[in-house]
Amino acid sequence: MNDSTEPADPIADPRTFLAEIGPESVVGILLVTGILAVMSIAVFFRYVLNDSLGWSEELARYGLVYVTFLGAALAARRGSHIRVSVLEHFLPPRWRRLLHLLQEVLTLAFVFTIAVLAIRISGILHGTKSAAMLLPMSYVYAAIVIGFGLAALRHAVVLWRTARR
């Protein structure tokens, strides 16, 4: 911690920041802001105007679904997933790299499988509409296809880089 009283600007250079967070985070930031706005408007309507909005809760929930699955792409690139990292402390560097490869392969296989299954579900549920907004459920399940699809690509890149190192 530095001793100056003024905190440094957290985003000194927008371009570096953008490269750090990636395009999925731009969407993620907009989604979090949007969910907050929708919920705030809903609270205002309910307590100040005594009128509840039927669609607000559903919209916010689906926003959170998109945040969750898009975040998988970000977490894949930044390695921010929560995991038990005991074993690698006891391994020599060579084995540690192999372990890292294995972790990436397994995670890649999982997100890829789920993304493919989600494509099939989206197809089946295209005719089904959500309760409040009458949105086709395929649009909501698309969050899994897009998020885990991107995550699979990201894991593949990490895998490629680890393998070549």
Binding site: V32, V43, I82, R83, I121
Partner: protein, 425 residues
């Protein structure tokens, strides 16, 4: 099949596969081998996070980050200092008081340690407190955060255990205050033994000025906790209000929040929320299998053969949680162990709300234990110490926390009285 589900999960976790993928892969494996259509996994992963109560997760995370960024923590610290700084070992007591107030707006121990902790450790170093004491009390007092509402861990427990989040929040108030009192006693003892410094007693005028300048920060917990516990707002709505409040106070009152800080806070919220929610999502598929195959029955059977009385069962559950807390992250443990432990609670007539507080306190103690203790890592980073020294520094402060854990395990009234005032059981 039971061995397959838990065996594969355990192996994947030990290999260091991300928790959400480990849960998902073992669920998929089970479902394919049991001949169930695998699409059910995707549906459960979706249903598991498509819940109104979970919207509180990003909001409480964001509110905590914003309040730290708005330097509300500095004001709180100054106010607490004018109140109890004159006691022997004053800054140790200040540390606890500030943590209790900050707990009322923040939902995670890491937000407390990372924000308030930086201010606290610096002040204690400047006054010549031993490093060990400063780091130990800062880490220990951070564990109060998720016990006093709001609390990310309690929201997740409430969703998995199907317990009222409002009741869980109300149930945490007394145990949180007990933790603070127990830590005060510990500080008092250490300060007396090692003759720690004290500060000049602040005059009434100083107390009044620091009170006024930290007033916006002090009002936040009253709005958040008051609103939820009295049932005026849902926890999700309260969380949204907390964010708006933090934004208004940070931008217009303290003038410490710029556009850059807000965008970064939103980004950190996006990342943390997704990482937590992905685990919630995958654990829903895992939990679905547990219920469908009635797998928890075996676990309950094992506990029943070992424990005759409820208190013995409680002891066993506590030990399992403390052990798990040494190796895994809080939310991950709540997600995996809650569905297994709920039938045991029902067998022995243990209240789900009481157990929620017990579980979270166990896991908070786990944050202070090696080899995997998130708070140890945070403290090592902000105090620039090695992990071994941080671990040693935190060890004595686990005694008061364990005493509180024993108390709330033995006496349901400590957790259930306050929710009883506000909710029909």
């Amino acid at each position: 099949m039971l061995a397959l589900l838990f065996g594969s999960l355990l192996v994947l976790l030990l290999l260091g596969v991300p928790v959400f993928a480990a849960l998902g892969i073992s669920s998929l494996l089970y479902i394919v081998l049991a001949g169930i259509p695998p699409m059910i996994v995707v549906q459960q992963m979706f249903n598991g996070i498509d819940k109104f109560s979970l919207l509180a997760v990003p909001f409480f995370i964001l509110a905590g980050i914003l309040m730290n960024a708005a330097r509300i923590t500095d004001e709180l610290f100054t106010f607490a200092r004018s109140l109890v700084g004159h006691l022997r070992g004053g800054l140790g007591h200040v540390n606890i008081v500030a943590s209790v107030i900050f707990s009322g707006m923040s939902g995670t121990a890491v937000a407390d340690a990372g924000g308030l902790g930086t201010v606290e450790i610096k002040a204690m170093r400047d006054q010549g407190y031993p490093e060990r004491f400063a780091v130990g009390i800062t880490a220990a007092s951070s564990t109060i955060g998720p016990i006093i509402p709001p609390s990310l861990s309690m929201i997740v427990y409430g969703v998995v255990a199907n317990a009222s989040i409002g009741q869980l929040f109300a149930a945490g108030i007394v145990p949180g205050i007990l933790m603070a009192l127990a830590l005060h006693v510990m500080v008092w003892y250490l300060a007396w033994r090692h003759d720690y410094p004290r500060e000049r007693r602040a005059g009434l005028r100083r107390i009044a000025t620091t009170f006024l300048s930290s007033l916006p920060a002090l009002v936040a917990p009253v709005i958040i906790i008051g609103g939820i516990v009295t049932g005026v707002v849902t926890p999700t709505e309260a969380a949204a209000v907390a964010v708006i409040y933090a934004l208004l106070v940070g931008v217009f009152w303290y003038r410490a929040l710029g556009a850059g800080a807000i965008v970064r806070a939103l980004f950190e919220t996006f990342e943390t929320t997704a990482v937590v929610m992905l685990m919630v999502s995958a654990s829903a598929a895992f939990g679905w299998i547990l219920v469908r195959e009635n797998i928890a029955a075996g676990f309950t059977q094992a506990i029943v053969t070992l424990a005759g009385d409820p208190w013995q069962a409680m002891l066993l559950l506590n030990l399992i949680l403390l052990f798990a807390g040494m190796f895994m992250e809080t939310v991950a443990i709540i997600l995996i162990l809650t569905p297994i432990m709920i039938p045991v609670l029902d067998t022995y007539g243990i209240d789900h709300v009481q157990f929620g507080v017990i579980m979270v306190l166990n896991l908070m103690i786990g944050l202070l234990t090696p080899p995997i203790g998130l708070l140890l890592f945070v403290m090592a980073r902000i105090a620039r110490m090695d992990l071994m020294s941080v671990t040693a520094a935190c060890a004595p402060f686990m005694i008061p926390l364990i005493i509180v854990l024993v108390l709330i395990s033995l006496f349901p009234a400590l957790t259930l009285t306050v929710p009883g005032w506000f909710f029909d059981h």
